[in-house]
Amino acid sequence: MYAFTFQRPTTVRQAVNLLAKNEDAKILAGGHSLIPVMKQRLAGPTMLVDLSKVEGIRGIEVGPRSVTIGAMTLHSEVANSAELKQALPALAGVPAGIGDPAVRHRGTIGGSIANNDPNADYPAACLGLGATIITSRRKIPADEFFQGMFTTALEPDEIITKVQFPIPKKAAYEKFKHPASGFALVGVFVARRSSEVRVAVTGAGSNGVFRVPEFEEALAKRFHAKSLEGIAVSPDEMNTDIHASAEYRAHLVAVMTKRAVNAANAGIAMEKQG
């Protein structure tokens, strides 16, 4: 690991200033993505800005039409929130399936979203639910936030403070886990809102999380797995690696979408996958 210094600001403004003044500074949230890449010397920040003491960016607020989650809220806190399980069980189920219990005690929603790992679960939930990413300077719709593998709309001195999720009529997340890592080989978040149906896919795309307009259109007409029959997803933009070919991933996108639609219709929370 390369040497670094660290700062522990207590306000968002202090944290932003530190980032603005130190070009090679990086934010430390739960550290379970950043510390491993620092060990591999794939990242070499000269300064870490630890957000653990920043006030007002942790916790879950359930409102009548939306749920707001602070960026530093742990996976274990989101997964175990009784209020959230009631209001939006599909979202509570997402972190329940990330990593393992010890990882869920450290990982944060803001860290996961800011990192935008192409196999991460939270980006699918944000895009699928049509979330709004609230930062130190603006509100960014999920459709604009995720811009490709490990790439987001965030400026270097911009910090996610909260994520706001509109509560849909129905939603579910289904994930085909890599059997060793537990990461999503393909994960599909489906949400039926009064205005639209959204289908967001993680793990499969070579540019990170993406939506499937042809599925959304078919499901908007009738929200049933049968509506997807005969519609194929092109493997052109899918990942290929030793674990799965692009064709297999494209196939899984359809399978997991159908499962998610069935689960959403049955009102099944994702926790069984957790």
Partner: protein, 171 residues
């Protein structure tokens, strides 16, 4: 260098360390508490699990300075060194829940955390699922699962033992 102070196994400790020092290195190299192991060093194997403020955490993926002022419990702190083993340790011994022993400290710290969160009546499915982040390459897990089920029950009947950790879990 940075001074890092915390409470480890009920004792106030302090050391001047490089900011790069991981919690597991702080424990092993500065405090000489070598019961916490380093297996994969990539937060997958669970050999380094300790309790920070009562919650199971992989000490290889935390910097020591992040836990300034925290309460940390390692495998050495589960039971009084001059008294009997913690019920979970005893259950591992009784059920032969180990072979080479390398993963055992992490297994036991994870198991105690599991009981703190999930209670004393743990079925096989729950235990195996909860053990997702702890890898054993010897046993095939069968006896570890048996040991955790038995240890969970034993912790109920001997509640009060290892209570330092339980108090932290309530935070």
């Amino acid at each position: 260098m940075v001074a890092v102070s915390m409470t480890v196994n009920g004792k106030a400790v302090s050391a001047d360390v490089d900011p790069r020092t991981l919690l597991v290195q702080y424990l092993r190299e500065h405090l000489r508490l070598t019961g916490t192991h380093i297996g994969c060093d990539t937060s997958q194997c669970g050999a380094c699990v300790v309790h920070i403020n009562g919650k199971a955490t992989k000490s290889c993926t935390n910097f020591a300075w992040q836990w300034e002022g925290a309460q940390v419990t390692t495998i050495e702190g589960l039971a009084d060194p001059n008294g009997p083993l913690h019920p979970m340790q005893e259950a591992f011994r009784e059920n032969h829940g180990l072979q080479c022993g390398y993963c055992t400290p992490g297994m036991i710290m994870t198991a105690v955390d599991m009981v703190n969160r999930k209670g004393h009546d743990l079925d096989d499915k729950t235990i195996r699922h909860e053990l997702e982040g702890n890898i054993c390459r010897c046993t095939g897990y069968h006896n570890i699962v048996k040991a955790i089920a038995a240890g969970a029950k034993a912790m109920e009947s001997t509640s009060g033992q290892g209570s330092g950790d339980k108090l932290q879990a309530a935070e």
